[in-house]
């Protein structure tokens, strides 16, 4: 029996943009800044589509939570080969716990065999939602995936961990979060981008879900990190070796 995959994608400030902290400390400037699908989510979509092409799954549903503009991220996912999209529309900035709760109720409705997410969103750098969703839906999880194979009701996942890699096996249904070495996301060709617009997209207001999304944390301020100043040029290898040798001696003396 071929399965169903739900992929959660987030629209974020493009990873190449050098962000600016607002002078009043209220946050990061996102007006007029280039946005795109979170890079890790691209790897998640690619994995889902590839599993479909390999015959493990037959449907890929792409879901995003955010303002109307988040539709772009869903369209990117559909252009890459997703079958249909769901936008949970809200202009509020939601915490990861709230995002996970909304996704959990979509999992409840859709009953996917596998949920794929990015391991982290490059704006808040949280690295939470996959693990939280797994908790709320009582599913096993495999985070930081660099390889996925699907065999019947078993998933084998290679995870990137502190000591190298860990190969784990989990029974479906499960939650997996994608790391960057999982695959190379395809660039959707123009005809696919055009076709994406005619794929089914359901837009659901956040209010429909009846979930308490009130924030638990108060962001007091957002500040810029201390700047590292420019340094000095070293003329020769000899000069550099002398400096390093001195540093090493100082460290040995201190410890």
């Amino acid at each position: 029996m071929a399965g169903k995959i739900l992929v959660a994608v987030k629209r974020v400030v493009d990873h190449n943009v050098r962000i600016r902290v607002k002078p009043d400390g209220s946050g990061v400037e996102t007006q007029g800044v280039r946005m795109s699908m979170n890079p890790f989510c691209k790897h998640a979509v690619e994995a889902a589509v590839a599993l479909c092409e390999a015959g493990s799954a037959e449907e890929v549903v792409v879901v995003s939570i955010g303002p109307k503009g988040a539709t772009d991220a869903i369209l990117t996912g559909l252009a890459m080969g997703g079958h249909r999209g769901i936008l949970v529309e809200t202009d509020e900035t939601l915490e990861t716990l709230a995002i996970a709760k909304i996704l959990a109720s979509i999992v409840d409705e859709e009953k996917p065999d596998l949920v794929l997410l990015g391991k982290q969103a490059v704006d808040d750098d949280s690295n939470h939602v996959g693990q939280m969703l797994a908790a709320l839906t009582d599913r096993p999880q495999a985070t930081f995936a660099s390889e996925i194979t699907w065999d019947g009701d078993t998933l084998t996942v290679t995870r990137e961990v502190d000591y190298g890699r860990a190969k784990v096996s989990l029974t479906l249904p499960a939650v997996v979060t994608a790391d960057l070495r999982l695959n190379t996301p395809r660039n959707a060709a123009l005809p696919m981008v055009m076709k994406a617009r005619s794929k089914p997209l359901s837009v659901r207001p956040l209010g429909d879900f009846g979930i308490d999304t009130a924030p638990r944390l108060v962001t007091e301020k957002v500040s810029a990190p201390p700047e590292r100043g420019g340094g000095q040029a070293v003329k020769s290898v000899e000069e550099l070796a002398a400096i390093i040798a001195e540093d090493v001696a100082a460290m040995e003396g201190a410890s």
Binding site: D125, M132, T143, E160, D162, A224, I244, A245
Partner: protein, 315 residues
């Protein structure tokens, strides 16, 4: 207030990050360390020595081998009741486990904490470290992960009480089938005083050996860029940056690394950066305290010879 710290360990050894985590939360109240895993006698003994630790709680259940989040979280959730703060280092286990625990407890976690400004006020980096967020939590309990490179280790010289914990059988639908460890005995990246980092410009796995040799000569840990890891020149656990490890050595020597913002995210804590690059305009060269402009294939071997001549040689 009291704190439960989940010990970070592997292969029966306590990770240096645990003493740093303890130091980070030392002000919050009495600290218990929880050790979960098989063959962890040495881990328990070492944890009991960390200053500020009141009690080491341990279960040697075989279900904790592999440290799957699914196996660890039910017990953590049960034990959490007695604590105001449940804390782990932001390593691969902490990052995997703590958000799952938080959701089980219906709590919003605060992760990658780089400063504690009080029991419920924390700083954490966002946007690859290009902004720092200060958050206050009004929750009654706090689930935290600590970016340990931002904290010094707590001292040794304690002898905390050791107590077994009893619990229900461990169940997990996820199971470790193979641990593919990176061979070698290079120092831990997170706590090393010197790190030598290499980029994709080394051109091959053979070329990356230059970086490893320089590191060995200095007793340094080895770091790599994502591009070098993607190319297969270095193992994934050497990656430094937004999605790799975060380092804070006294000295970081970056060889042939451009300094993309995702790489810089991992090295901001370095006290001194030396960049060796043929491009004087590279972003990493721009922020380095010292720069040597030239071809790494000439510079690195020459540097090793000059260091050797000054008595810096492999121990």
């Amino acid at each position: 207030m009291s704190v439960l710290v989940l010990a970070d360990h592997d292969l029966g050894r306590l990770s240096p990050s645990t003493a740093r985590t303890v130091h980070a939360v030392a002000e919050l109240g009495p600290i218990d360390i929880l050790v979960l895993g098989e063959g962890v006698d040495q881990v328990v003994a070492d944890a009991a020595q960390i200053s500020g630790v009141q009690r080491v709680r341990v279960s040697q259940d075989s279900g904790f081998v592999g440290q799957s989040a699914e196996a660890l979280v039910p017990l953590l959730a049960e034990l959490a009741e007695g604590y105001s703060h449940i804390v782990a280092s932001a390593g691969s286990v902490g990052r995997d486990v703590m958000p799952r625990l938080a959701a089980k407890l219906d709590l919003m976690p605060v992760t990658d904490v780089t400063a504690l400004l009080g029991p419920n006020r924390f700083e954490r980096p966002i946007y690859a470290g290009n902004a720092i967020e200060t958050v206050t939590s009004n929750q009654t309990q706090h689930v935290l992960t600590i970016r340990t490179s931002s904290f010094a280790p707590a001292a040794n010289g304690n002898s905390a009480t050791i107590e077994p914990v009893s619990h229900a059988p461990v169940i997990s639908a996820a199971r470790l089938i193979d641990a593919l460890r990176t061979e070698g005995d290079t120092p831990d990246l997170g706590s090393a005083r010197i790190v030598v980092g290499g980029g994709v410009s080394v051109g091959s796995a053979e070329g990356f050996k230059l970086i490893e040799q320089l590191a060995a000569q200095l007793g340094a840990a080895v770091g790599a860029t994502r591009a070098a890891v993607d190319a297969g020149y270095a193992p994934n656990d050497w990656q430094v940056g937004q999605t790799g490890k975060v380092i804070a050595p006294d000295l970081y020597i970056a060889v042939g690394i451009s300094g993309a913002l995702q790489h810089l995210a991992g090295i901001q804590g370095a006290k001194k950066i030396i960049a060796i690059n043929k491009d004087a305009e590279a972003p990493l060269v721009q922020i380095a305290e010292l720069r040597l402009i030239g071809d790494l294939f000439e510079m690195v071997p020459a540097l090793m010879r000059e260091l050797e001549a000054r008595g810096v040689r492999q121990a």
